[in-house]
């Protein structure tokens, strides 16, 4: 008897709202729907604009858009390609992720499981605040502080790991304005973001799981390995993806730190290379209409890459069951 009672109560309010259709309701619903549609239109417009102008630029490119190193759309005939930019973007982001993700997980665990409780709260709070430091400030700090201070680290890497070729510095004297430095700076920038999200995910791990593990005599590390990390894995992955999205699109911090040149080098300590957004902000001013279209084409590629990364993150999050009070 009690089981049959609830079903009619839930649809009833909706039915009331639908049958007595008041003008206020229609206007409000229309506004809400309208803004949703507006958002769709804006997105479609962005996609359309970028695509149309990008296609027109690429069709006039006398180099191969994907494999050309140079970015010289002002030449006659125009030659430009994204090979160096794509490489630089990927390499700097990979370096950033390789550094930031383990450390971010470490900090998240530190705050949730290791730090004295009185310390954990304030630390989490400070890291939250650091997530809001504008990228231009990171850029300023990177160019005026980090670059001079990383020289020693670069030389050290060259001394001990130069044999790997990756860490070989062709010219020991050159400034540390390399993709490696960019990667480190990006790592510092995305560290707070990844930490924040990971920490929240780890906080959601049911206490029962951890207590059960403890009760079985697990050490703290075993608790983390057996009950915390498996539960939080997808959340941490999506946090990392968010960080990656940020790193891929970062503009100013890269523009101030990198010595850009159209050279593709596997030696990440050499001051060469470029990234999509750095190239846009550096070349934009001098670009004529056609040059702008060419830059837009590269922007579109960046957009697509970011889209893929964010989409992947979103899918991972979606796989976890989302709690919703409203439309469950």
């Amino acid at each position: 008897m009690t089981t049959t009672a609830p079903p009619p109560t839930t649809p009833e309010p909706h039915r009331v709202a639908r049958t007595v259709s008041r003008p206020g309701d229609r206007i409000f619903a229309g506004m809400a729907r309208g803004s949703g549609i507006l958002l769709l239109i804006v997105m479609a417009a962005i996609a359309l604009f970028l695509t149309v102008r990008a296609v027109s630029a690429i069709s006039k490119d006398h180099g191969n858009f994907l494999t050309t190193f140079e970015w010289t759309p002002s030449l006659n005939p125009p030659v430009f390609g994204i090979a160096v930019l794509a490489y630089g973007t990927v390499v700097s982001s990979v370096i950033a992720m390789a550094i930031a993700v383990p450390i971010a997980i470490g900090i998240a665990l530190f705050i949730t499981h290791y730090a004295p409780r009185r310390l954990g709260g304030p630390i989490a709070y400070v890291i939250d605040l650091l997530a809001a430091v504008p990228s231009i400030v990171y850029g300023l700090w990177g160019a005026l502080f980090l670059v001079p201070h990383l020289r020693g680290v670069n030389l050290w890497l060259d001394d001990y790991f130069g044999w790997t070729y990756i860490f070989h510095k062709q010219d020991p004297n050159s400034a540390a304005r390399s993709l490696f430095t960019v990667g480190i700076l990006l790592a510092i920038m995305i560290l707070p973001i990844i930490t924040n999200v990971s920490r929240e995910v780890i906080n959601q791990v049911p206490k029962m799981h951890e207590e059960a593990a403890l009760a079985l005599g697990a050490t703290r590390w075993e608790v983390i390995r057996l009950s915390v990390l498996p539960f939080a894995r997808s959340g941490i992955i999506s946090a990392s993806m968010l960080g990656l999205g940020r790193a891929l699109g970062e503009t100013m911090a890269v523009a101030t730190v990198l010595s850009a040149s159209p050279v593709l080098s596997a030696r990440i300590l050499d001051p060469v290379g470029g990234t999509f957004s750095q190239n846009i902000v550096a070349k934009f001013g001098e670009a004529d209409d056609f040059g702008r279209d060419a830059l837009i084409a590269s922007g579109l590629v960046l957009f697509l890459i970011t889209l893929l990364v964010n989409g992947a993150a979103r899918m991972i999050i979606q796989r976890r069951k989302e709690y919703s009070g409203a439309n469950a």
Partner: protein
């Protein structure tokens, strides 16, 4: 504590397993540091970073070896994990501390009443002097306009998604909100620039153009955070209101929104803090100005992030000083917004969420 837990294991051959005294980690650390200094000085390694790294490696290896001998492999692994977590924390703290410390120490010297209340008008960039007033005005106005555009649209979209959204349209909107979240700021700037060219046949050079790009960046963030907050509002509240015969729109406005207002405001404030630091689209769109321009719709403006970029590009000491000063002002501005947002969220957190 772990040792106590471990001692409770019924499988353990002894009731109390051996464990290291409490003072052992600091002792091992001290030993590692002494050894590292000895090795470093002995081998003539000049870089103190290397000394630190050697000390760290020695500490991890030493504590593993000693613990493994005394307490067993599992405890040893636990110790290593602990030291790795601690060291990752310390590793992260160093650059973040350095960033804040550098900005404050270099910026504090220049930020004063004059700096905050004067523009760069008639100041030679190779000389000290001038200030950020025009940039503060620019940032406030551009961010303000962006908020006025993006906040209502974003909130309405979120309301649509949570309260009305069913079917294909809602799916598309959700998808594109995700897509928008990922737009690199420079691409948003490029988009507004292209539209501006098509619409007015000239390059944009006003604060308003910048705020349009900022609004584009802000909108998806607002939608996301508002959506999350609305989802936290329990259905019982909606149903109770509807059952009383209140129309759905009044239920949304008078019951759902007020319940979630704390979270929504926090989300908007965080979004504002986020766009206030954007420099890439501004660099493409607002041209920059040394003088005060309070009209965001006509003539170029400056903005704090752009000002920093501009001063950095001037490349001389007085300009670097001004850049640090402006960076300090910008960080303070963003942090204050963050603090306000957090206070509001603590004060108005939806209590019936569970």
């Amino acid at each position: 504590m772990d040792a106590k837990q471990a001692s409770g294991r019924p499988a353990s051959p002894r009731l109390a397993s051996r464990h290291l005294p409490r003072w052992s980690p600091p002792a091992i650390a001290a030993g590692a540091i002494v050894a590292a200094v000895a090795i470093g000085a002995g081998a003539g390694l000049s870089s103190h970073i290397q000394w630190g790294l050697i000390a760290l490696a020695l500490f991890v290896a030493g504590s593993y070896a000693i613990t493994a001998r005394v307490e067993g492999r599992r405890q040893a692994r636990n110790r290593v994990a602990t030291s790795l977590v601690w060291s990752s924390f310390i590793l992260a703290v160093i650059p973040l501390y350095s960033l804040v410390e550098t900005t404050i120490s270099k910026g504090a010297g220049i930020v004063d009443g004059t700096f905050l209340s004067h523009s760069m008008n008639n100041v030679l960039t190779i000389q000290p002097g001038g200030g950020v007033y025009h940039a503060i005005i620019g940032t406030l106005e551009q961010v303000g306009i962006a908020t006025v555009i993006a906040a209502p649209l974003g909130m309405l979209t979120a309301i649509y998604l949570v309260e009305y959204g069913k079917g294909r349209l809602a799916k598309w909107v959700t998808f594109f909100v995700d897509v928008m979240t990922g737009i690199p700021s420079i691409v948003a700037g490029l988009f507004i620039l292209s539209v501006w060219f098509v619409a007015f046949n000239k390059a944009p050079a006003s604060g308003f153009a910048g705020s349009l790009a900022l609004a584009l960046l802000m909108m998806p963030v607002v939608v996301r955070s508002t959506e999350e907050m609305l989802k936290l509002v329990p259905n019982e509240l909606r149903e109770a209101s509807l059952a009383l015969g209140v129309p759905k729109w009044r239920t949304t406005v008078k019951v759902v929104l007020p319940t979630a207002v704390g979270g929504i405001t926090t989300g908007i404030m965080l979004a504002i803090a986020r766009i206030a630091g954007e420099s890439a689209p501004i660099a493409l769109l607002v041209f920059g100005s040394a003088a005060i321009n309070t009209n965001p719709f006509k003539d170029p403006q400056s903005s704090l992030p752009y000002y920093i970029f501009e001063q950095y590009n001037n490349g001389n000491q007085p300009s670097y000083d001004r850049a640090w000063g402006a960076a300090l002002v910008l960080i303070a501005f963003v942090m204050i917004l963050n603090l306000i947002a957090r206070l509001i969220s603590r004060w108005k957190a939806p209590k019936a969420g569970r």
